[in-house]
Amino acid sequence: MIDVMTRKPLTINSYQGKGGILDLPLEQLDKVRALLDANNVFYWVDDEVLSIDGGPESAWITISQKHDAAMIQRLLDSVP
């Protein structure tokens, strides 16, 4: 999946390959949540969103450590 703001692939930030944090444009949050829900991924979404200098808002999804980060990345890469 391509980040609509950066035009780069959405990439999970993981420590040692378990779980991780996904920083994504707020407008793509619902689509990513649907993808994760469809694949029984346990995650949670931050209560806050970030806008820098009045720009588009970013959200954060934290993926549970019980999921392999590479698997999550493959899921993200599997959709446009």
């Binding site: 930030n13 993981s14 420590y15 040692q16 779980g19 991780g20 944090i21 920083d23 346990f42 949670w44 931050d46 806050e48 970030l50 820098i52 934290t62 549970s64 450590q65 019980k66």
Partner: protein, 230 residues
């Protein structure tokens, strides 16, 4: 009257500390937006820890974010909530028992301890502290059984006690069990167990929030009921 005021003060301090603790968690989480902002704007920085010799730049620091938030900040903050609850509970018991020491009338003390005590209040406090120290090693459900024997508050509900028992069990595993669920966790958590034997415990943020809300509710309910009975 003094007991009522003491309980009210205890509740106010505890609820204030719970709020401060949640603020610490929330704002600590938020400061991660600053290195993120630097990266988005194409800036760079390095930090060096003089104690360990490690060095990070804006990229490597962000790579640590998942570990620091989920591996350290969430569990540590969660443990702090549980500590505040334990302090509240045992401070409440101490207040009640020192105001109503007759329930401990059958407890025995060594003569030496009595002779060393400056006054009767000190003797009572010695017995109270001994009783509380023993109770601390019991399961959480037993804490409330003991409280109920002293004063029937009508709260928390059995459901809430079960939730608190799982919360305490999770905390105990994080502190004493390297975060790996085991038979002790399963026994303490019972029907509320979130993990199976051998699984790594996590503190997801929704659960962290639910814990904070549950503890705040129980502190409020118990202290209000205790004030009415005092």
């Amino acid at each position: 009257m003094a007991l009522k005021e003491d309980i009210r003060d205890l509740a106010a301090r505890t609820l204030g500390a719970l709020n401060q603790s949640h603020d610490y968690f929330t704002y600590s989480k938020r400061v991660w937006t600053f290195p993120r902002k630097v990266v988005k704007q194409g800036g760079n920085f390095t930090f060096r820890n003089l104690a360990t010799g490690s060095r990070v730049n804006e990229q490597t620091l962000l790579e640590l974010e998942p570990l620091y938030l989920t591996g350290y900040l969430l569990p540590a903050s969660f443990q702090q909530f549980v500590s505040l609850f334990e302090d509240f509970f045992f401070d409440l018991l101490r207040l009640w028992l020192t105001a109503h020491p007759s329930s401990l009338a059958r407890k025995q003390l060594e003569l030496g301890t009595v002779l060393k005590a400056p006054d009767k209040d000190a003797i009572v406090l010695t017995v109270v502290d001994k009783e509380l120290n023993e109770l601390k090693y019991d399961r959480l459900a037993e804490w409330f059984v003991s409280l109920d024997k002293l004063v029937k508050l009508g709260c928390p509900t059995p459901d809430e006690i079960e939730q608190l028992a799982e919360i305490k069990a999770s905390r105990d595993i994080l502190v004493h069990g390297k975060g790996i669920a085991n038979s002790t966790y399963l026994a303490k958590a019972a029907n509320r167990a979130r993990y199976n034997d051998g699984e790594q415990l996590e503190i997801p943020e929704p659960y962290h929030r639910e814990t904070w809300e549950m503890i705040r509710k129980v502190v409020g309910d118990v202290s209000e009921a205790a004030v009415k009975k005092a």
